[in-house]
């Protein structure tokens, strides 16, 4: 079987192509909304929607296990962490004015990055090769080929969860301003 030169078989089934285009457009719209919205709670909602739409995109082009992990683990944990932080704080409304200098600089840099990436994607003639069915053997790949990496990821995730929990549960130390205020009242 020739490895180089075989067609990569883009998806041509009309309903599936329409679904993929719709998911991609909605994903980009919700991602943009989440970084532009002033209310942080709404921004987190849009972020969670983006993660769900990424999971749907995975469902169309990747093994089902990746869809499930993206939907059940990554989306849930990320949204829970963000909402947990909001419960600890009261910073719902952003004080930053839209279309400030930072916004213009950020938009310019993002547009330049996007243009560069699009030019690279459009002008590159990607080498192609035939692939096997991605849905089979994914679990075996993770647990056989990448068993050490999987174990490291489990340790990293557990450490991050434990560490962030300990940090959030730690007693609040008096801040610098509170210390100054206490000193001032003592005098």
């Amino acid at each position: 079987m020739p490895l180089i030169g075989a067609l990569p078989q883009p998806i041509t089934s009309a309903p599936l192509v329409i679904v993929i285009y719709a998911v991609v457009l909605l994903m980009l719209a919700s991602a943009l909304a989440s970084v532009v919205l002033r209310n942080t709670l709404y921004a987190i909602g849009a972020f969670a929607a983006t993660m769900v739409l990424v999971a749907l995109l995975y469902l169309t082009i990747a093994p089902f296990l990746l869809f499930a992990a993206q939907l059940l683990v990554f989306t849930t944990v990320s949204a829970a962490l963000l909402v947990g932080l909001l419960r600890q704080t009261a910073g719902l409304e952003s004080t930053q004015e839209p279309f400030s200098r930072e916004w213009i600089v950020g938009a310019a840099v993002a547009a330049a990055l996007l243009a560069l990436l699009i030019v690279v994607i459009a002008t590159t003639s990607w080498p192609i090769r035939a692939t096997t069915n991605a849905a089979t053997g994914f679990g075996a790949t993770l647990t056989n080929t990448y068993v050490v990496g999987l174990a490291v990821v489990v340790v990293i995730l557990a450490s991050a969860a434990l560490g962030s929990g300990l940090l959030l549960a730690a007693p609040t130390l008096p801040s610098g301003r509170e210390r100054d205020r206490a000193r001032g009242s003592r005098r």
Partner: protein, 102 residues
């Protein structure tokens, strides 16, 4: 009309640009962390697209495996970043990363 590597890579590039915009333009720690998440996810989507449409290794599941690892790393980074944001909030009563500038 079809959906192939170029479409998914363009979507990935756009998601990466949105994340870069959030990191550069927003001052809220939460929104900056959301931006880094988008940049991570953009990389994952590109890996999955290369694996699905043929640029991956001989084992087509490798792209998805890398996406799993990158996603887990992104969540861990988010957990640590949010814990730091909570500590910044306790100190300055603000989630703005430049809250200590006068």
């Amino acid at each position: 009309m079809n959906a192939g590597l170029n479409l998914i890579l363009a979507a990935s590039a756009a998601l990466f640009a949105v994340g870069a915009f959030a990191v550069i333009a927003r001052r809220s720690a939460v929104l900056m962390l959301i931006g880094t998440q988008f940049m991570f996810i953009a990389g994952c989507v590109a890996f999955v697209a290369f694996a699905r449409f043929g640029l991956g290794a001989g084992n087509a599941t490798s792209g998805a495996a890398v996406a799993i690892f990158a996603g887990a790393t992104a969540v861990a980074e988010l957990a640590v970043g949010l814990a730091m944001a909570a500590l910044i909030y306790r100190e300055h009563r603000s989630l703005a990363i430049d809250a200590d500038r006068g």
